[in-house]
Symmetry: C2
Subunit: 316 residues, 2 copies
């Protein structure tokens, strides 16, 4: 049912669906399961020392023969070692984010790799294209985790990015169902990247407490916070309330950094501390009510896409 797009051809995948590389949630197990189910599986390197990243890549490679990739936020100190280790392990698909696309794109392309950079504005998308990346992920305000400062939503962002660049565009933020996949592709995206929905799969490393919190969350239960430091969308909990109280009093970056401290994301997402942990998740949280395997999820998405196309044909 899914026909080839410029992105499926670029990445060598069967469906125009990419499992987002997420901190603490998407290790080798999830990436391999997503790949085996027809998506592109991405290992989230952001939370991994180079040795652990190597372990996860090898694990994924032992579980699938399909291509997998690595997501590398360019803001951590281990970046160069992470890229080196991934290249040595044979990874040739890199999703980079949170930094300049100019810095590593040429080096990665010299190694024969495909480079995709994450952007939240049409202006940055153009800079990505000029830096030589193969495609961009355009991620909207509704996305979980780190987010752009301009707060442009996926519905407003995708057509603007598609107009701004000639390279293919992958839509991210607010996509958890087949109808949202079709909507994103209607806007001109050639594929979608889904994070939150893959965080709640059997193969995800998210703690069971975190998965349950997502599956019982309500529509207004996430919030974009810490804008004076690095904007991040979080599930509301005690920690998020503390941030909100601080922000209401006009907190600056230093005050927020002090409250944040160290290890909050790990303790929340991997270890399941729902009170004190940082729970990164998108607005679609409230639409995720079931903990499926990647295979079940991909089958469900396929059925939903078909039903949506059928509905659209009745409307136009």
């Amino acid at each position: 049912m899914y026909k080839p797009t410029s992105i499926t051809k670029l990445l060598g995948i069967e469906t125009p669906i990419i499992q987002a590389g997420m901190v603490w949630v998407s290790g080798g197990k999830l990436a391999a399961a997503a790949a085996n189910a027809g998506a592109l599986g991405l290992i989230g390197a952001g939370s991994m020392k180079p040795d652990l990243l190597k372990h996860h890549i090898e694990k994924a490679q032992s579980l699938t023969t399909k291509p997998i990739g690595v997501n590398v936020p360019l803001l951590y100190k281990d970046v160069e070692s992470q890229l080196k280790v991934a290249l040595e392990c044979g990874i040739r698909i890199f999703f980079t984010s949170a930094g300049s696309p100019k810095k590593y794109t040429t080096m990665l392309k010299d190694h024969g790799a495909i480079v995709v950079h994450v952007t939240s504005t049409p202006e940055l998308a153009l800079k990505c294209e000029q830096a030589g990346v193969d495609a961009v992920v355009a991620e909207g305000f509704e996305a979980g985790g780190h987010n752009g400062r301009d707060e442009i939503t996926t519905l407003a962002l995708i057509p603007q990015v598609v107009s701004a660049v000639k390279i293919p565009v992958i839509a991210a933020g607010g996509i958890a169902t087949g109808s949202q996949i079709v909507a994103a592709m209607a806007l001109g995206a050639q594929a979608v990247q889904m994070g939150s929905r893959f965080a709640v799969t059997k193969e995800s490393s998210a703690h069971e407490n975190f998965k349950k919190a997502i599956m019982t969350s309500g529509p207004g239960d996430t919030k974009l916070m810490m804008k004076n430091l690095v904007p991040v969308r979080l599930l509301k909990n005690k920690f998020a309330e503390e941030i909100a109280a601080l922000e209401d009093r006009g907190a600056d970056a230093e005050a927020l950094e002090q409250l944040l401290g160290k290890g909050r994301a790990k303790s929340g997402m991997l270890e399941g501390d729902l009170e004190r942990g940082e729970l990164e998740i998108g607005q679609v949280s409230a639409m995720i009510r079931q903990d499926l395997t990647c295979k079940e999820l991909m089958n469900q998405l396929s059925r939903e896409v078909q039903a949506t196309i059928k509905n659209l044909n009745a409307l136009f």
Copy 2:
């Protein structure tokens, strides 16, 4: 090309497109032009005393034989007189917002009117249904003007509202082009409501300065502000900078109300004071580059919808 939907049948219109009722921008002239071009035209009563509303309804009725409606925010003191005048003039389509759907729905339905209420959450949509409204407008975070507190984007909101209620759903926020119309309908909406795009038409009452500011705005040039008073999305200007500075210092409702003062929206949108005026517009502002007639706009949207459907059929 547009096939009938539950909303086109309910409202007696040819296309599933509603021109939003906006303060200072959508008088009788715009509503009639939108209606003559196949959309539902709405007069924005929010900025009108009952006498002026009567004048605009009669003007619209002199310019079209198609049905037109009135948008009435339920937060102003003149509400009851506005509803009375509109009913006396023969209006039988009411879009209500910014207040409880329980208050006037029964009275309006007793007069044989169709009632549509604007909501920004699935929970309120359900309350609207229980209050007996015929349909809801579900409006996302990217919309211009007054906005919900939960900041749910259109892409995340529409499927959740569609799941929550049995009555038909109209999508609003972030819709200015044919691809965005198709995206909204893919999500389960039975029609779309477009504000910003109709604000920049030849028949809109928006001041030329305001229209030009929209047509030259960039992607990140709107912001949801005044959250401690009533959240409103504004085009960035000197006034918006003053709000931002106040908010950075943790301003409360009283401080914001004092800065806002009286007549800011009129001076900005109708009178064209781009420095001191309040310029309400959605995130799609940056996608609007041309000042078309309603007829030209509707023709363009129709071509874009057709192209989008063709693209989708190549992808699925």
